[in-house]
């Protein structure tokens, strides 16, 4: 499923080797928050039961693992931190589990942004 969105990322990390990559070929990973503003109609009583309430009360923000390719040496991945980007890519809205270390698992929905899929 393709997706277009505005998002801000944090905890940007660049992988040196392919084996470390969460998604093969995408060498930068970050945590991204996307806002999903509820449309007016969701507040009508008929529809109010549809939407899930989030744990932290911020019902319209969701966090994803952002997987992005940044092989151009001129680009500094840390510039992603706290900057709003417009992005286009694929989304997997169900959580995926990565084994990031011995007995250490990372479970999060994922975004896959390939070349030219982002613009500050």
């Amino acid at each position: 499923m393709s997706i277009m969105f505005f998002a801000r990322s944090r905890f940007v990390q660049k992988f040196a080797s392919v084996e470390e990559q969460y998604v093969k070929g995408l060498n930068v990973v970050a945590v991204t928050g996307i806002r999903f503003p509820p449309p007016d109609w969701t507040e009508i009583s008929e529809y109010s039961g549809l939407l899930a309430c989030s744990e932290n009360g911020d019902s319209n923000c969701a966090y994803f693992s952002l997987n992005i390719s940044m092989y151009d040496e001129k680009l500094d991945p840390t510039e992603l931190n706290d900057t709003w980007f417009f992005m286009y890519g694929r989304v997997h809205p169900y959580a995926l589990t990565w084994e990031v270390g011995p007995d250490n698992y990372y479970t999060v929905p994922a975004l896959i942004i390939r070349d030219h899929g982002y613009q500050a």
Partner: protein, 324 residues
């Protein structure tokens, strides 16, 4: 930053997908949990089965290489504007559009996430988001749907610049005395459809859809190179110099057909390949036809005659189009 933050946070993310419908809300949502929805609304919503192909950097670790399934919830909120009028026919219909295994192709805004507690078959993990998608454009790809695919993108093809550009925003640049050729409008739409289908691994029913798209694309591919009758005439006119031209007009479609037949392998590794054969080929042929549009358009008024007795110069133009 704060101003930007505010404006960005009110922008709806937009998703696009094609996939088989699991079923309507009337069977997949627990009615008691959402009593306000009512039977008609439950009929105008449903779940769609999709999947993402993923290959991790280390193939021995999770998530393993392959298709990872998920579902999205699609709803036409018919109790509110504009859907109460927009989807009146859907609401009035006795049967739901959300029939199992009918393909739904859709682009729309994400309104939020569905509460797992109201789902008859909720996802395994609490962290799984079931997107609530409100379609902006949609197509139920059942048998009846095949005829009405072409309309939405019509303007994009019928706007080759026919006058020298003055102010690029001048609406006069986009005015035309001649009628748009409706046949051509199928090409870009089908391209889009193919792309969408390719990007959304639409499970086991995908091949059917691709076959349909491909067959529908074939006449469209011909139409970019001329009217239906013309390839033969071109072939007769130009065969002495370039014997292979007769087969060229159909070539794009053949390429597409080949590609789609092995689509499962193409799309697996590169769901958005920068050099995806299908969009590029079609885009190239489109570009060529558009760039050749001004000379053709000069003779627009004589088009019917040209179809019957094409002068040689048009044969040359036609050759250029089909060759590029």
């Amino acid at each position: 930053m704060s101003n930007n933050t505010d404006s960005f946070s009110t922008t709806f993310p937009i998703v696009s997908f094609t996939g088989p419908i699991v079923g309507p809300g009337s069977t997949l949502l627990t009615g008691e949990a959402v009593p306000g929805l009512g039977d008609i609304q439950l009929k105008c919503c449903g779940l769609v089965q999709l999947s993402s192909y993923l290959a991790p950097g280390d193939p021995t670790k999770t998530p393993f290489k392959g298709f990872h399934p998920f579902q999205v919830f699609v709803i036409f909120p018919i109790h509110t504007k504009p859907w109460n009028t927009l989807c009146k026919k859907m609401a009035d219909r006795k049967e739901t559009h959300f029939q199992s295994n009918v393909l739904l192709s859709c682009t729309g805004k994400v309104a939020g996430f569905l509460d797992h507690r109201i789902m008859v078959h909720p996802p395994q993990l609490a962290q799984d988001f079931v997107f609530i998608v409100v379609p902006d454009t949609w197509q139920f790809l059942d048998k009846a749907g095949q005829d009405s695919i072409s309309t939405p993108l019509a303007p994009s093809v019928t706007t080759p610049a026919k006058k020298p550009p003055t102010d690029p925003f001048d609406p006069a640049r986009f005015m035309s005395p001649s009628k748009p050729i409706t046949r051509q409008t199928t090409t870009p739409t089908m391209t889009t459809r193919s792309t969408v289908t390719l990007s959304d691994q639409a499970s086991h029913t995908e091949p059917t859809n691709l076959t349909l798209s491909t067959t529908a694309l074939m006449p469209a591919a011909r139409s970019t190179s001329g009217a239906t009758k013309r390839p033969n005439q071109f072939g007769e006119l130009s065969s002495p110099s370039t014997p292979s031209k007769k087969t060229r007009p159909v070539q794009p479609a053949q390429e597409v057909k080949q590609d789609s037949s092995r689509s499962s392998t193409i799309t697996l590794d590169e769901p958005f390949p920068p050099s995806s054969p299908i969009p590029n080929d079609t885009a190239d042929s489109l570009t060529s036809s558009i760039s050749s549009a001004p000379p053709l358009s000069l003779e627009d008024t004589t088009r019917p005659h040209r179809n019957r007795h094409p002068p040689k110069k048009f044969a040359e133009i036609g050759d250029n189009i089909t060759l590029s």
